[in-house]
C-alpha cells in the first residue's frame, strides 16, 4: 500500500468517527436542546417558526401551585432518601465484602435483586403489599420504596470500591496500633469517600427521577416526574412543561457535572488511580 493511500484511509476513518460521534451526541442531546430553546418561545403551541423570546413560561411555571408542590415534594423526598440509602448501602457493602460466612452469596444476591427486578414489578408489588396491610399511600410509602430501590445501588458502588483497595493498608494500620475508630476515620473513610460522594449523587438523582415506583406507591401528592406524566398523558405539549423541565435539567446536569469534577480532582490528588471513573459504576450495575 502506498503511503498516500494509507494516509487517506486514516483520514477517512477519523472523519467517520467524528460523524458517528456528532450524530450520537445529537441523538442524546438534540431533543433536550430543542426543549430548552422552545421554553423561550412566545407562543402557546410548540411549533416553528420561532416567534419571540420570552420568559413568561418560567413565570407561569413558578405561579402554578402544582409545579411548585411537585418540585418541593421531589426534592424533599430525595433529601430524605439519600442519607438513609447511604447508611444502609454502606453497611451492606461492608457486610458483604469484609467477612466470610456461608450465607454471603445469598445476602449479595438479595441486596442485588432490587437492581435487576424491573421497577414496574417492585412498584406493583409494593402497592399490593401496602394495601393488603392497610397502609395509607402517601409520600411516606414512596420514600420507603425509594430507599429499597436506591440503597442497593449505593451498596454496589461502595463494595466495588472496597474490593478494589488494598486491605494491607488496613492491616498495617492495625499493626501500628490504630484503634478501630482511628482506622475508620483515617483509613477507611478517606478511601471510600469518592465512592460515597458518587453514591450520594446517584442516590439523589435516582430518587428525584424515579417515576414508576412513585407512580404506583404514591398517594395524592405529586412528585415532579408524576406531574410531567399526568400533565402530558391527556394533553398536548405545553410550553410551561418546557420551562420547568429546562430548570430541572440545568440544575440536575450542572450538579452532577460539578460533583464529578470535585470527585475527580480529589481522587487524582490522592494519587488513587482507577481504571474506570467512579461515576460510571452505576451504569455497570444497573
Amino acid at each position: 500500500m502506498s503511503p498516500d493511500r494509507s494516509r487517506f484511509r486514516a483520514a477517512a476513518a477519523a472523519s467517520g468517527r467524528w460523524l458517528f460521534l456528532v450524530v450520537l451526541l445529537a441523538f442524546l442531546y438534540g431533543p433536550l436542546a430543542t426543549l430548552i430553546l422552545f421554553s423561550f418561545n412566545d407562543s402557546i403551541v410548540i411549533a416553528l417558526p420561532f416567534r419571540e423570546f420570552t420568559l413568561r413560561w418560567y413565570g407561569e411555571a413558578m405561579k402554578n401551585p402544582l409545579v411548585v408542590e411537585s418540585l418541593k415534594n421531589s426534592i424533599g423526598l430525595a433529601a430524605i432518601v439519600t442519607p438513609i440509602s447511604l447508611v444502609l448501602g454502606t453497611l451492606a457493602a461492608f457486610g458483604i465484602t469484609r467477612f466470610r460466612y456461608r450465607a454471603r452469596g445469598a445476602v449479595a444476591g438479595l441486596v442485588g435483586a432490587p437492581l435487576v427486578v424491573p421497577w414496574l414489578l417492585i412498584g406493583v408489588g409494593a402497592l399490593l403489599f401496602f394495601s393488603r396491610f392497610h397502609f395509607h399511600l402517601s409520600l411516606r410509602t414512596v420514600a420507603v420504596m425509594h430507599v429499597v430501590t436506591v440503597f442497593p445501588l449505593v451498596a454496589a458502588i461502595v463494595s466495588a470500591r472496597l474490593v478494589r483497595f488494598d486491605r494491607s493498608i488496613e492491616e498495617a494500620a492495625l499493626d501500628l496500633g490504630a484503634a478501630p475508630r482511628e482506622l475508620l476515620r483515617y483509613i477507611i473513610l478517606p478511601l471510600i469517600a469518592p465512592a460515597l460522594a458518587a453514591s450520594a449523587i446517584f442516590a439523589f438523582s435516582w430518587s428525584f427521577n424515579n417515576f414508576v415506583v412513585t407512580f404506583f406507591t404514591g398517594g395524592f401528592e405529586v412528585t415532579f416526574p408524576v406531574w410531567v406524566f399526568s400533565t402530558l398523558r391527556h394533553a398536548k405539549n405545553l410550553p410551561v412543561v418546557n420551562a420547568v423541565s429546562t430548570l430541572v435539567a440545568v440544575v440536575q446536569l450542572g450538579a452532577v457535572y460539578l460533583a464529578w469534577r470535585l470527585a475527580r480532582s480529589r481522587t487524582l490528588g490522592r494519587g488513587v488511580s482507577s481504571d474506570i471513573p467512579e461515576g460510571a459504576v452505576p451504569g455497570l450495575i444497573h
Partner: protein
C-alpha cells in the same frame, strides 16, 4: 490435623457471620420486609380470585386469562418486537462507541464518557417529553419538513407508533448499553491488537477474533441491564406509543390502576418476570459460549 483446620475455619466463618450480622441486620431486614414481602404478596395475589365483589381463594384463572387472551398475546409480541429492535439499535451504537472510547478517542475519552453519564442522569420523563415535542404530528420535525416543502402532509407515523417508542427507548438507554461494553474493552491489553496488526490481520478478523469475544461479557451485562427493563417499560409507550405502541408494562398498569383487576395484573407481572429471567439466561449462556471460543 485436617479436622482441626476445618473446625478452625468453621469457627472463623461463624465469627465472621456474627460480625457481619452487625452490619447486615438493618439492610437485610429492610429488604426482607419491603422487597421480599411485596414480591411474595404479588405472587400470592396472582393465584387469588379477585373481582370487585370478592377476593381470596386459590385459582389459576388469572394465568389462564393472560395466556389465552389473543389481545395479550399481541401486546406481548409488540413488547418483544420493540424491546428487541431498541436493543439492536443500542448495540449498533454502543459497540463502536465503546471501541472508540477505549482505543481511538484519546483525550476525548473522559469528556465523552461524562456526556454519556450526564445524559443518563437527565430525568427520563423530560427526555420522553423532548422527543414527543420533536416527533408529533404538529411536532418540530414535521413542521420543519413541511415548511421546507420536503413533504406536503405531516408524517403521522412519527408519533404514537412503535417507531417512536423504539427511538425514545434507544435514546434513553444508550449510556447503560455502552458502559459495560466500555468496561470490558478497557480490560483488553492493547498489545493484543498491536500483535494482530503486526501479523497483518484485517479489521474484520481483529473484530471477530479479539474484540467481540473479549467484549462478550460486557455485551452480556448490557443485554441483562438494558433488555430486561425494556420489557417492563411503560412511561415511554404511554406518552409516545399510542395504541400501536402499547406494551406489557402499559397492560399491567391498566389492569392494576385503572381496571382494578389485581389478580390478572399480578399474573401478568409474574409472567413478565419469567420472560426477563429467560432473557437473562439466554444472555448468560451466549456470553459464556463466546468466551470459551475466545479461549480455545
Amino acid at each position: 490435623m485436617m479436622r482441626r483446620k476445618r473446625a478452625e475455619e468453621r469457627e472463623g466463618i461463624g465469627r465472621g457471620a456474627r460480625r457481619a450480622l452487625l452490619y447486615l441486620a438493618s439492610p437485610v431486614g429492610v429488604l426482607l420486609v419491603l422487597f421480599v414481602g411485596p414480591m411474595a404478596v404479588l405472587l400470592i395475589v396472582s393465584f387469588e380470585y379477585s373481582s370487585f365483589t370478592r377476593t381470596g381463594g386459590f385459582t389459576l384463572s388469572n394465568y389462564s386469562t393472560v395466556l389465552t387472551d389473543a389481545s395479550y398475546l399481541r401486546v406481548a409480541w409488540t413488547t418483544i418486537f420493540v424491546a428487541t429492535m431498541s436493543m439492536g439499535v443500542m448495540l449498533l451504537a454502543a459497540i463502536p462507541l465503546a471501541y472508540f472510547l477505549v482505543f481511538r478517542l484519546g483525550k476525548l475519552e473522559l469528556p465523552i464518557l461524562l456526556l454519556l453519564v450526564l445524559s443518563d442522569e437527565l430525568n427520563p420523563l423530560i427526555r420522553i417529553y423532548a422527543w414527543r415535542m420533536l416527533l408529533g404530528r404538529e411536532g418540530l420535525i414535521n413542521s420543519f419538513l413541511t415548511s421546507l416543502g420536503v413533504i406536503e402532509h405531516p408524517i403521522d407515523a412519527l408519533l404514537f407508533s412503535k417507531i417512536a417508542v423504539i427511538i425514545v427507548l434507544s435514546a434513553s438507554f444508550i449510556p447503560y448499553a455502552t458502559i459495560p461494553i466500555y468496561a470490558s474493552l478497557k480490560a483488553i491489553d492493547p498489545s493484543l491488537l498491536e500483535a494482530a496488526d503486526d501479523l497483518g490481520s484485517r479489521w474484520l478478523a481483529k473484530f471477530r477474533k479479539i474484540l467481540l469475544p473479549l467484549a462478550a461479557p460486557g455485551i452480556f451485562v448490557t443485554v441483562i441491564l438494558v433488555y430486561i427493563p425494556l420489557f417492563s417499560e411503560f412511561a415511554a409507550p404511554a406518552l409516545v406509543g399510542g395504541t400501536s405502541g402499547y406494551m406489557l408494562g402499559n397492560a399491567v398498569q391498566e389492569q392494576v390502576l385503572e381496571l382494578g383487576d389485581w389478580g390478572v395484573g399480578s399474573a401478568m407481572s409474574f409472567l413478565l418476570l419469567v420472560l426477563s429471567g429467560v432473557v437473562a439466561l439466554i444472555g448468560y449462556k451466549l456470553g459464556r459460549i463466546r468466551r470459551l471460543e475466545a479461549i480455545t
